[in-house]
Amino acid sequence: MAIYSPGLSVLSQNAALPPDWPGGYWLHWLVFVVIIMTFVLASIMGFIYFERRGIGRFQVRLGPNRTGPFGILQPVADAIKVLLKEDIVPAKGDRIVHWLAPVVAFVPVLLIFAVVPFGGGALLADLNIGILYVVAVSSVTVVGVFMAGWASNNKYSLLGAMRDVAQVVSYEIPLLLSIVGVVLLTGSLSMIKIVAAQDLPFILLQPLGFLIFFMAALAEINRTPFDLLEAESEIVAGFHTEYSGMKFAMFYLVEYAEVLAISAIITTLFLGGWRGPLLPPFVWFLIKVFGVFFFIFWIRSTIPRLRIDQVMAFAWKALLPLALLNLVVTGIEIVALPAISPWVIILINLGVLAVLVVVWSRFFKLGGGRVAV
């Protein structure tokens, strides 16, 4: 099954060695940082276009189609528009924190891409704790969001920011636990090794883990049905209600960069990363990332939003126990059945998934929730 280009795997081995470039590491980093930034910005623009057109079609309309052929320049036009807008800081807001917040939110998201393996190897660093690094870095974004909510001196912003903190902190736990299942199968935290271990995509070996990871990731990146922090029908725009111009653009970028990062991580962890027949690895990677993203905005265009207490209950009462059970089942399978064919394990896991989801949905009830006042 292991079909990946030998040339790129050589690159992955070389990534740890000092490159034979003038200036050594520094130039290497500089070049690849620029490449990654360009890639991230370009794919975010692609994502924005893809999502707006896609949601348009889901909603039996066309989506943006005026700027350039098929409206392909719409993200550019949006960017130009938003950059030319006046930068407004609320009169009683905290100017410094208000200014700092988008930066604090944006930098960690970019940092994630340092370890994402686009092709045979990570472009910047093949950390042996890759996935741990991703989880650690990505949770810093929430600080920026809370700073934004606090500094805006707006009740809607504050409500949104508080929701975000509560939600992200809770969903880190099932997210991590479902990653541990993958790590158990691989025996390594390195993103490249995780991909290399996926002769069968882990979505088959870890269906429940994938489900948990996917839902927790949606909550982490605040997409529907967990988009409480910017729930436009409730709290206007949440934490970025008071943001405009460049700073708003930063938050907008953060939103999509997070989606890109999560799509890339899901691709890496569960969908076999860059691996695939015929096409070059990088293309496979992009196809899978866009596939995951398509699924994310398909969900966005269909289902309503949960309420904050339901979101929290879902994390602690549904996802956390399921993630723990998943971990136990995976552990038992690895210890007790080391030599069995993976297809049997897939069947077992799918059975476990079905049973657990059905059982859980029986006694886990959402709804109600009135507080006597």
Binding site: R57, F58, V60, V357, V358
Partner: protein, 165 residues
Amino acid sequence: MQSRFFGLGIAKGMALTLKHLFRRPITTQYPEERLSTSRRIRGNELIWNQVKCTGCATCAKSCPQGAIEIVTLRGEENKYIVEKFGVDSGYCIFCGLCVEACPYDALYLSYDYELARYRRRELVKDKEALLASPSKRVSGYYQPEIEQTLPRQTLLLDREKEERE
């Protein structure tokens, strides 16, 4: 009614949106693509037929907004001469009551519908601006003979693919 298993209702909804992905979008690209409006459209401003008008001012009396201004002189044979006839389209709500009230069919609504002007004063139309002319298309509102000559209204019902009959 309620789905027994968590996820089935969501899956049904997602199947429906996916089905819509392959349906034809229903939006029209307005300035390029124009649909025929209703034959009775109450569009733009009024069109005034000077020959038929007798200056009875029924239109002005029936106007709920007081947007029609009419001044008449007594001419020969005891007939009115319309000296001034003006409509402030800024006040007009296009209710069509004046057209309905006119006993001599001297007043029509326009079939065109793009009324926007840059200056408010351009909305005030005097006698000359309201005169009927071949370039102005007349709506079939309260004019059954004209109604038959106008293009058929495009209906979304007809444009849509006939997939559910």
